[in-house]
């Protein structure tokens, strides 16, 4: 037996050497097949693992828990529902936290709740008038003078624009009224009223001048309220980009950095950034790319977004600096800005830097700026509108998700602010509403029956009745809360107990070892009924981002499978051809007494040897490639989706023994199968036929 095996090995290796060209070709194919498999599966696993780390390390944790009676599914990164979602409530987070942290393997339980809030940026003049009103109220003469100068600057710009508008408007009377109002505001006599009739002056500015400015914008912010201290500690992917984290116990907002740069930024600056990205990252040129050239032209037409924001002093200085920079004698700042914004490939980089250095500091680069106190408004669960003043402490991003719109659509706030905006109705409030309702006694009339009920046969009285004139004191029995003077920043602090003892909508369960997720989830589910919660894994909790990850994974697997299948067909065909080519040789061997089993064994051994040697080399090369990529990183070039898939600007793939074992095993197995059938056919050929050379 051993002798026969030895003989087989000898013959097999001698045969491989004798057919070394053919062996080389087949070996090369096996080499590249294994290389592809080892590197491909390693990359796939690395992409999956990095996406998982990005998502679980950002917001979801490995498991999320929320009310078991929730009407909607939890979708932290946004779901398919267009309206607000009903996730139910966990009224006492502390109770849930206590039970879940007792489970082995649970590292932390982070309370959360998502609400939608609106923020109005206000039109420029409305904002200035607010400042003017505050300065007047507090007797701040310097502030008054400064704001007055700003208002005059904007009024002068509007007057110029109104000239163009008057030429095309059909409502000449309204245009004349607007022009007269502007003339008034621009006169010294008007501002003298600041001392004699401040309320009248402010009302005039409010109602006659401010409507002439461009309307302010309304932003919708999706806010995740959480214990921010714990959040930043547990979710290692979250990092502050600008400003600071919200100090422990303070209330505030951290805006997603992408939202800050893509939504809240001055339009001209935003376009500058977009053109820079197109040139630097996508290799596009203004000279050759029509879309980019259009973008540049459009941006130049937006010059008023800079002009209207410049105070008179900086505007004068900028005029001088732009004249010098452009070598122009033009005195009109608007025209100078248009010339400056007429960018080409040669001037772009320099003007980009000049813009941020010379113009940026004098305009409001973002509608909501880090350090601002903003008013968040939202419709509470009770239906009433709730407003909260909070400070924007900074911007943040999740590393790996920073370029994905879907991954950056959420902003962070403290749990107390969340609870106020969520606004669950208390029993006392409910009772108060019932009292008001009872005192009026309105009967309910449905839409369907309204006409019959309101105008039908039952109504005997005439539709007009005489009212009785009775004076009334509208404030009798009414309590109006008193607030401090001016915009109120909610500086109340809160302690950890206050935060954790209240309501949360969902909670992230972060594990010591992510691989224990299925087991821990089962343990949590064991407590679900008692706690009134349900548990979902991170893929499900991530909503659309989780679904996107699943789709990306499927697409990558399908792509690698197709490439591999093509390689298999090639390997198979090559092996069949190589075997069939040797029928004459088989006949000779059979003629000199070789049994069929010997022939079969020889062929399979040859393939096995070739597979192990070439496949082993291929696997080593695959490992080498992955090691190399691990050191230099695979860049996520092109679309932003690549950054999401790679969970960052570069993917640093790793390999595992499973990738090598799988790659090598599959290649050797496929080669053996591809050899077996033609070898079987060849062994069945009779020596006479084989030697005749006809087959």
């Amino acid at each position: 037996m051993i002798a026969q095996l030895r003989l087989l090995l000898l013959v097999a290796f001698r045969s491989l050497w004798a057919h070394r060209v053919k062996s080389g070709i087949v070996g090369s194919i096996l080499f590249f097949g294994t290389l592809l498999l080892v590197a491909g599966t390693s990359l796939l696993d690395s992409v999956s693992a990095s996406m998982e780390r990005s998502i679980t390390g950002s917001l979801t944790g490995q498991i999320q828990v929320y009310d078991k009676n929730a009407r909607d599914d939890l979708a932290l990164f946004g779901g398919m529902s267009m309206g607000s979602t009903d996730l139910g409530e966990m009224p006492e987070f502390a109770k849930v936290e206590k039970e879940l942290t007792a489970i082995e393997g649970v590292k932390a339980v982070v309370p959360m709740g998502v609400v939608n809030a609106m923020v109005m940026s206000g039109n420029e003049l409305d904002l200035m008038l607010d400042r003017l009103r505050t300065a007047h109220r507090s007797g701040d003469r310097e502030g008054l003078a400064q704001t007055k100068a700003q208002i005059l600057g904007v009024a002068a710009n509007i007057k110029e624009e109104l000239g163009y508008r008057q030429a095309i408007t059909s409502d000449k009377a309204k245009a004349a009224e607007e022009a007269a109002a502007l003339e008034d505001v621009l006169s010294e006599a008007f501002w003298a009223r600041l001392d004699t009739d401040p309320d009248g002056l402010l009302a005039f500015l409010d109602t006659r001048l401010a409507p002439l400015a461009t309307d302010g914008r309304m932003y919708y912010l999706r806010l995740a309220g959480t214990d921010l201290g714990q959040f930043m500690e547990v979710f290692d992917r979250a990092r502050i980009v600008e400003g600071t984290a919200i100090p422990q116990g303070k209330r505030g907002v951290l805006i997603s950095h992408r939202t800050y740069e893509k939504l809240l930024k001055n339009k001209v600056a935003r376009e500058f950034d977009a053109i820079k990205k197109a040139r630097d990252e996508e290799g596009r040129l203004i000279a050759t790319d029509n879309l980019l050239a259009d973008q540049v032209a459009r941006n130049a037409r937006q010059y008023q977004r800079l002009l209207f924001q410049l105070d008179p002093g900086p505007a004068r200085e900028l005029t001088t600096r732009l004249q010098r920079y452009l070598g122009s004698q033009e005195a009109d700042l608007g025209k100078l800005l248009q010339s400056f914004l007429a960018l080409d490939d040669q001037s772009f980089d320099e003007r980009y830097d000049w813009f941020y250095k010379e113009i940026g500091p004098h305009i409001r680069l973002h509608d909501l700026t880090v350090g601002d106190v903003i008013t968040l408004r939202g419709f509470t669960q009770s239906g009433y509108l709730k407003s909260v003043n909070v400070r924007v402490y900074g911007t943040y991003e999740f590393t790996g998700l920073e370029k994905a719109d879907i991954g950056t659509a959420i902003n962070l706030t403290d749990l107390v602010t969340f609870r106020e905006l969520y606004g669950k109705m208390t029993d006392a409030q409910r009772a108060e509403l019932a009292d008001i309702r009872t005192s009026v006694g309105v009967k309910e009339v449905s839409r369907e029956s309204a006409e019959d009920a309101l105008f039908g046969g039952g109504a005997a009285e005439a539709p007009v009745t005489e009212a009785v004139a009775t004076g009334f004191d509208e404030f009798a029995g009414v309590e109006i809360a008193r607030y401090a003077d001016g915009p109120v920043l909610d500086e109340r602090t809160y302690n950890a107990e206050e935060m954790r003892s209240g309501l949360a909508l969902n909670a992230a369960v972060v594990l010591d070892d992510p691989t224990t997720m299925p087991a821990v989830k089962t343990l949590i589910e064991g407590q679900a009924d008692k706690l009134g919660i349900q548990a979902v894994d991170w893929v499900s909790a991530a909503g659309m981002l989780g679904q996107l990850m699943v789709v990306v994974r499927i697409v990558l697997y399908v792509a690698v499978s197709i490439i591999f299948l093509v390689a298999l067909v090639i390997i198979n065909n090559t092996m069949v051809m190589a075997t069939m080519d040797r029928i004459g040789e088989i006949g000779t061997m059979r003629a000199i007494g070789a049994q069929r089993s010997f022939v079969m064994g020889m062929f399979l051994l040859e393939t096995l040897a070739l597979g192990i040697v070439a496949g082993g080399a291929g696997a080593a090369a695959g490992v080498g490639l992955i090691e190399y990529l691990n050191r230099v990183g695979l860049p996520a070039t092109g679309a932003d989706i690549m950054v999401l898939i790679f969970s960052g600007p570069r993917l640093y793939p790793t390999w595992g023994l499973s990738n090598v074992g799988l790659g090598l095993g599959i290649i050797v197995l496929v080669s053996l199968i591809a050899t077996f059938y033609p070898a079987l056919l060849a062994a069945r050929v009779s020596p006479r036929v084989a030697l005749s050379g006809k087959e």
Binding site: F455, G457, A459, A469, F472, V478, Y483
Partner: protein, 259 residues
């Protein structure tokens, strides 16, 4: 020949809708609108205590009590919420075409459009304000109809190019006997029906300054036609036509109530 024509004419007259024969002239329709505007406007001041209730499917009911101050001659309006306690002090100020909202909890004013839903209900500024239909809209006649047991004129109104109104198209059903609005439907620019409003009861109060009655709808039922099932009811609880302090129609006054 004459006989055949006569019979045909008779048949035509019989089958033609009665509205075609009775359709009021354009000037008459403008007069109808002016009558509504004149009746609801006071030359002096106007103060009313109102109850607003909004029902929305699957949500808690919203309930407010508010005071409305009007100085129609100067196009000024203030709506201030008095109850519930969490809402007390919040309010709206309208001066000319400007509508501002104030929230004392954050000490901020914001500019709002005509489409603003007062306190998040289906009601709008125009539901509490004097009527200005004749100036803002151009009427056309749709027909004579019945609404419950009342005979009504059905008018279709199109906003004039310069009017700053919430709805570009409006349909009105006016009580033939009194000329009051009994039903109103508001349509968007794409002619989509947005809301239906009923005015089942009108009241009038003698104004010494006007030397005539001032009319107001005692009850207003507003049905949201987009979000079916949502409805808002406004009840005018009391009206007072005594003159008001000038200071009421300023931002400072509304602010002062909560400072």
């Amino acid at each position: 020949m004459f006989r055949r024509s006569f019979m045909a004419g008779l048949a035509l007259a019989f089958f033609l809708p009665s509205t075609a024969l009775a359709a009021p002239a354009s000037a008459e329709m403008v007069t109808m609108l002016k009558t509504i505007d004149d009746r609801t406007t006071n030359s002096g001041d106007y103060k009313s205590l109102v109850y607003i209730e909004r029902k929305e499917r699957d949500k808690s009911d919203l309930v407010y009590q508010a005071v409305v101050y009007r100085r129609d001659e100067l196009d000024k309006l203030v709506i201030m919420f008095l109850k519930p306690q969490t809402e007390a002090g919040k309010g709206y100020l309208r001066v000319d075409n400007n509508l501002f909202v104030y929230d004392p909890t954050v000490g901020k004013w914001e500019r709002r459009t005509e489409r603003e839903r007062i306190g998040g209900t289906d009601s709008q500024r125009s539901d509490f304000d004097q009527s200005n239909l004749a100036q803002e809209y151009v009427p056309t006649y749709v027909g004579e109809e019945t609404l419950g047991k009342y005979a009504v004129h059905h008018l279709k109104l199109t906003a004039t190019a310069t009017a700053d109104v919430a709805w570009p198209f409006v349909e009105l059903w006016l009580d033939k006997a009194t000329g009051n609005v009994l039903k109103r439907q508001d349509f968007s620019a794409s002619s989509k029906l947005m809301r239906t409003t009923y005015y089942p009861e009108w009241q009038k109060l003698y104004s010494a300054s006007k030397e005539a009655d001032v009319y107001f709808a005692k009850e207003i039922r507003i049905y949201d036609e987009v979000e079916k099932g949502n409805q808002t009811t406004v009840v005018i609880q009391s009206v007072d036509l005594a003159s008001l302090d000038d200071a009421i129609f300023t931002k400072a006054w509304l602010e002062s109530k909560s400072r």
